[in-house]
């Protein structure tokens, strides 16, 4: 069983992020707050509630080295939260948006973060030491619709974005004073801030969930037309692979290695995609157990399963601050999975990741015991 832990935190979770040591998880329970839970003696306890936003928090990211949380919301604001003693202290970052912020990601060096918005713009924020505040630089051109997802290349400069205009774009976010120039190539070849490196027009429908592979050589993103796109050689002539699959569309993806990608979405079950030796990507299988088809003869057990869920819901009331880890049943998520995060322990070989969804659950998956997938890791 690939799913090793299931936790029902809320009725619906918008997004989630883990603390650097994975002992705490921050998520938005589909309202204007960020809840932080800590695992204490095998039970999850609510330790902080960050209340500053006026509307739903659409994106949360927790930096691994500097231990800062950044949150963005439909209220067009973003806050950087710093840990000072027992408290989380917010710093408002003025994004100058006139539409909702939809997604946020810290850069690999954690000196910048990028925000995608419904205003068809991407804000790249960096810290100005002299004035002790975060400055936002906006990429205004190119996007024809909302920016749904952003992803940083390992070089801390290139940023990939997906949009509901169906395209995936890569920009340079080079900021003087924050990023160091690569002097060997000469200053003329370094792209300016906001310069578009490449535009990928592979999908005829909304694009979501872009991620770079660990080395930065491959880009993956999904389209709402049940397709996933893998692109190599980002530059003037990229090599793209369109993989169509039988099932419902995906919302987010994660590279667990150079050759394996996990996709999550409306099928409520993580999908494994892998590249063979020649670099050809294809769908391998689902990770969790598939739901029984309705036409099967086991309608009796389905009724009792539904009844059990209702009964189980009554126990985990929203006012409850402690959540018991629940037993793992057959189909793990029962609603759309919209967020996936990497959970590798430093120095450990095991590949773990977590998913959260509209069913309010956070599920932790471990690929260690999946024998048939070992060759791709």
């Amino acid at each position: 069983m690939a799913a090793v832990a299931v936790h029902q935190f809320a009725q619906c979770i918008t997004c989630h992020a883990w603390s650097p040591d994975h002992s705490m998880v921050a998520f938005c329970p589909n309202n204007n707050e960020v809840h932080i839970y800590k695992l204490v003696n095998d039970k999850w306890e609510k330790v902080h509630v960050l209340q500053k936003h006026d509307q739903i928090v659409s994106g949360i990211d927790w930096s691994g080295k500097s231990n800062r949380i950044v949150s963005v919301s439909h209220d067009r604001n973003s806050y950087v939260w710093n840990r000072e003693g027992p408290e989380w202290v917010p710093t408002l970052v003025i994004l100058r948006l006139n539409r909702a912020a939809l997604c946020v990601r810290w850069s690999p060096k954690e000196n910048k973060f990028a925000v995608g918005s419904g205003a068809k713009t991407v804000c790249v924020c960096y810290y100005e030491q002299e004035n002790n505040w975060w400055v936002s630089k906006v990429i205004r051109k190119k996007h024809d619709s909302s920016v749904t997802s952003v992803a940083w290349h390992p070089n801390n400069i290139l940023l990939a974005t997906t949009s509901t205009d169906g395209k995936c774009r890569v920009f340079s976010t080079f900021i003087k004073g924050v990023d160091t120039r690569e002097s060997k190539t000469g200053s003329s070849s370094d792209p300016k801030f906001g310069e578009q490196i490449v535009q990928l027009d592979l999908s005829s429908s909304w694009a979501f969930g872009v991620k770079w592979s660990p080395s930065g050589n491959t880009l993956a993103y999904v389209g709402h037309n049940s397709m996933i796109y893998f692109v190599d050689d980002i530059g003037p002539s990229p090599l793209a692979q369109n993989v169509a699959f039988r099932n419902l569309p995906l919302r987010d993806v994660l590279f667990v290695s150079e050759k394996m990608v996990i996709g999550v979405g409306f099928d409520c079950n993580p999908m494994v995609f892998a590249a063979d030796k020649s670099g050809l990507w294809s769908f391998i299988r689902f990770l969790g157990e598939r739901k029984e088809s309705l036409s099967g003869p086991k309608s009796g057990s389905q009724f009792s399963e539904a009844f059990g869920k209702l009964y189980g819901q009554a126990k985990h009331g929203l006012s409850n601050d402690t959540v018991e880890p629940s037993k793992i049943q057959g189909a793990v998520h029962d609603n759309c999975i919209n967020c996936i995060a990497l959970l590798n322990k430093k120095g450990s070989q095991t590949k773990r990741f977590s998913t959260s969804g509209m069913d309010g659950k956070v599920v932790i998956w471990d690929l260690g015991n999946q024998q048939d997938l070992k060759e791709y890791l």
Binding site: D201, S205, H224, P249
Partner: protein, 129 residues
């Protein structure tokens, strides 16, 4: 990577296409008389209908495809490479026998191709029939 440079079949005029469709129609009528509905449907689907932009040509093509579609009695034996776009056009007519037939085929198509196939045809607003 799509460069977007599609070659339109009616580079010259729509009349040439209409003539081609009429030619197809005669072939289909004769195949149907010989009780070969599957062959007829294959013939009807020939030619890249996605490239046609002119509405009259699309309608003319649809009439021919519709004729062959309705003649299919054994939906099971039918090959499943029928473009779902035609099924949706059929369903949008609201005509009872057409909708019945299209729904029957749609069920089989979904079994074989999965939901992703439906989503791709719904999401595609460019290549319509």
């Amino acid at each position: 990577m799509m460069a977007g440079a599609e070659k339109f079949v009616e580079a010259d005029n729509a009349e040439a296409i209409i003539t081609r469709i009429e030619h197809k129609s005669r072939k289909i009528e004769s195949l149907l008389k010989q009780n070969k509905p599957v062959e007829a449907l294959k013939t009807a689907l020939e030619g890249s209908s996605h490239m046609i932009r002119d509405e009259r040509c699309k309608s003319a093509n649809w009439i021919v495809v519709h004729r062959a579609l309705m003649a299919i009695k054994d939906v099971e034996g039918m090959f499943s490479s029928l473009d779902p776009e035609y099924l949706y056009r059929g369903l949008s007519t609201g005509d009872r026998p057409t909708c019945d037939q299209c729904l029957r085929i749609h069920e089989k198509l979904t079994e074989r191709a999965g939901l992703g196939c439906i989503l791709r045809s719904l999401a595609d607003t460019v290549n319509t029939v």
